[in-house]
């Protein structure tokens, strides 16, 4: 029972990580580089939601603003920087994405300062389900995440552009010869990535606090989840995020509260050694 409660505690945290990992894995699979600006895009989403929420009092409006704003931001990053670097080495893109992340954080720091801010959402007592304490706010957040995930997976698996994106992720050359226009795929991918990051960032902000560094600090678990899930695998990323979130909490009675942070690294290392393609990864043509 104790462990079950710990597992429940880990689930919402896992969803935040999973959303970040979904954004990361889409870029990794389609544009073929680890986008280190993912965390800061999440932070941007949190601030956008917070600002609109404060002004309008509506979380729904806040999330629309966050998704829209972060989607545009991600697309801008692509158009101004990543597009120009197409065909360069992974490192060039990685370093550029670190630079973009720094710039986003700097912008947020100048605009909002470094003081913590919080979402003013009503607090509620937990409901008891089969002996487990479950928080209504967590349920709402989980519902939001579920809707966002459903929307992304609907786009990926039910629309033509989604099929094209998956085709590019599977085999870029084959996709090109079959007449897929990479430009459109990239645009769609970056918009989705930004939106997904924003939802993750907003959830993080509602659960915790908002400050310019919150997203950057999520980056390591997000990376770990992406690799654990198998690069380029959207389902894998979300599942891996949940697994990591739960594993981190359930392991604490054994490893303590400090080393649980290192758990994502240990999991990452173990996965890479045993199964370098991750849980859901396919054999990749990249090298």
């Amino acid at each position: 029972m104790f462990y079950a409660q710990l597992a429940v505690n880990g689930l919402v945290q896992g969803l935040v990580v999973g959303l970040g990992a979904l954004a990361l894995t889409l870029v990794f699979g389609i544009a073929r580089f680890p986008n280190a600006a993912t965390g800061d895009t999440m932070t941007f989403g949190a601030y956008a939601a917070l600002t609109v929420h404060k002004a309008s009092g509506s979380l729904a409006l806040g999330s629309i603003a966050a998704i829209g704003g972060a989607a545009v931001l991600a697309l801008l990053a692509y158009l101004t920087v990543f597009k120009r670097l197409a065909g360069r080495s992974v490192v060039s893109l990685l370093v550029a994405s670190i630079g973009i992340g720094f710039m986003i954080r700097a912008g947020l720091g100048v605009a909002f300062g470094h003081q913590q801010q919080v979402f003013n959402v009503p607090l509620s007592r937990p409901i008891r389900v089969a002996g487990l304490a479950i928080n209504p706010l967590d349920l709402q957040l989980a519902a939001v995440a579920a809707v966002a995930l459903a929307a992304v997976f609907a786009i990926l698996y039910l629309t033509p552009i989604g099929r094209q994106m998956r085709a590019v992720a599977d085999n870029r050359d084959l996709a090109r010869v079959s007449g897929i226009r990479p430009e459109r795929v990239m645009t769609a991918m970056w918009l989705i990535t930004g939106g997904v990051s924003a939802v993750g960032g907003m959830m993080l902000g509602i659960k915790t606090i908002v400050s310019p560094e919150v997203g950057w600090e999520m980056l390591l678990p997000v990376f770990a989840a992406t690799i654990l899930g198998g690069i380029g695998s959207p389902v894998g990323a979300v599942v891996a995020g949940l697994v990591l979130g739960v594993a981190q909490e359930v392991s604490t009675p054994f490893v303590g509260f400090t080393y649980k942070i290192a758990l994502s690294f240990v999991v990452l290392l173990a996965v890479l050694l045993v199964r370098p393609r991750g849980l859901f990864g396919r054999i990749e043509g990249v090298r």
């Binding site: 505690n9 659960k207 604490t252 400090t258 942070i261």
Partner: protein, 406 residues
């Protein structure tokens, strides 16, 4: 954009010369005393640093408005420690070597103060800080007696926590500490004092910063059924912990240091969650005239009440008491000034609350500056021993019920 490497490097060198120039051009005037304000404007100390720095400037303006100290104007040179020892060391070097400051005021985290104090010792100038680490009282850090602490040590905070828990009749305390020197210092100080009283601590947890949730940590603490949880925490983590605690519905009391349980926390969480929390802080000397002067300056600079930032009250006092010592010494020679610090701060003189008042009174005889942050009496280590207030949060307001002396 065709620039050769040579041209590019040349333009950078020119830029560097331009940047370095003003500090060389501005030579030090004989009638000016430069003081360094080295505050944690960014980093973990960010929520306090701007206010601290502005209060050093404001106190210096008050000194200058009263005609300066021993006939000299005070000029403040500000630097940011970034709450980071390496950045602080370079900033302190710059203040000491380039700006030739006569004192460094306002370092905040213990790590930063421990890194900076060897430099101020070498330069033979005082360092006035608000750090809690006991190591700063004694050699090697304070071998020359140039370190002055305006904040209670973590140990003293812990003792105050224990006093309050005893007074409130708690029997089963648990502790939660942020994993850094100050967080652990508080809860260990508490545990030591509590055990000395024959009590027992039912559970203690040390947690890592920057997490999305502290629910598992809370579960562990709450599972021991404590009647009170004593924390060594900061505002960001306290916000998250209290929110998650409230959602568990398990009744328990909280004793939290004042830098975390402050009006900002109440604003973030609302009156219902924070009801009944006991916030423990060194008593900003709120009844004192000095506090009124500080509060007015703080409101003007930060558009917030002065109670929001105890450290800003400390930096206000740093500048004021230093200026009084300069006035009393009649010279800017720091050895002479430091020798006068206790004389103008400690009892046995006429009580004064502002620089202007003290300057007048010094003509007649000895003075005792009663500060905005505490009564400001330095012991042999250069530490102040403030009284501690137990503030109960009631209806979204911090109400001081009583004061404990340790």
């Amino acid at each position: 954009m065709k620039t050769t490497r040579r041209e590019f490097l040349g333009s950078i060198a020119a830029g560097a010369a331009l940047v370095a120039a003003p500090s060389i051009v501005r030579a030090q005037g004989a009638d000016v005393i430069r003081i360094g304000a080295l505050c944690p404007v960014t980093g973990v100390g960010g929520p306090y640093g701007s206010g601290m720095q502005k209060m050093i400037v404001a106190a210096a303006e008050a000194v200058n408005a009263a005609g300066g100290a021993s006939g000299r104007k005070i000029e403040i040179v500000s630097e940011d420690t970034q709450t980071n020892p390496q950045a602080a060391v370079l900033a302190a070097k710059k203040l000491i070597e380039v700006n030739k400051v006569q004192a460094v005021l306002g370092t905040w985290s213990s790590g930063v103060s421990l890194a900076v104090i060897p430099l101020t010792n070498d330069a033979g100038i005082p360092l006035m800080h608000c750090s809690g680490a006991p190591a700063l009282s004694v050699p090697p850090a304070n071998a020359k007696g140039l370190g002055f602490r305006f904040q209670a040590t973590n140990d003293r905070f812990g003792r105050a926590f224990a006093e309050i828990c005893e007074k409130e009749g708690f029997k089963r305390p648990a502790t939660m500490a942020f994993n850094n020197a100050s967080g652990i210092g508080n809860t260990e100080g508490f545990t030591k004092a509590w055990k000395a009283k024959g009590g027992e601590v039912v559970e203690s947890v040390v947690y890592e910063p920057n997490q999305a949730s502290y629910r598992s940590e809370l579960m562990k603490v709450l599972a021991a059924n404590p009647d009170v949880i004593v924390t060594g925490s900061y505002i960001a983590d306290t916000t998250i912990i209290l929110r998650e605690w409230f959602q568990t519905g398990q009744p328990v009391k909280w004793v939290i240091p004042g830098w975390a349980a402050n009006p900002q926390l109440i604003e973030a969480l609302g009156a219902e969650v924070t009801e009944g929390i006991i916030s423990v802080d060194s008593v900003s000397n709120e009844g004192a005239e000095a506090f009124k002067a500080y509060d007015a300056a703080y409101q003007k600079a930060m558009s917030q009440a002065g109670t929001n930032n105890v450290y800003a009250a400390m930096t206000w006092d740093m500048m004021t008491v230093l200026a009084l010592a300069i006035e009393a010494a009649g010279t800017a020679d720091m050895a002479a000034v430091v020798a006068k610090l206790r004389e103008v701060g400690n009892p046995d003189g006429k009580q004064v609350s502002t620089f202007a008042e003290g300057k007048e009174a010094l003509k007649a005889g000895k003075i005792n500056y009663e500060g905005a942050s505490s009564v400001l009496d330095f012991d042999q280590h250069g530490d102040v021993t403030p009284d501690f207030g137990a503030y109960f949060i009631e209806g979204g307001k911090l109400n001081r019920r009583y004061v404990v002396q340790i």
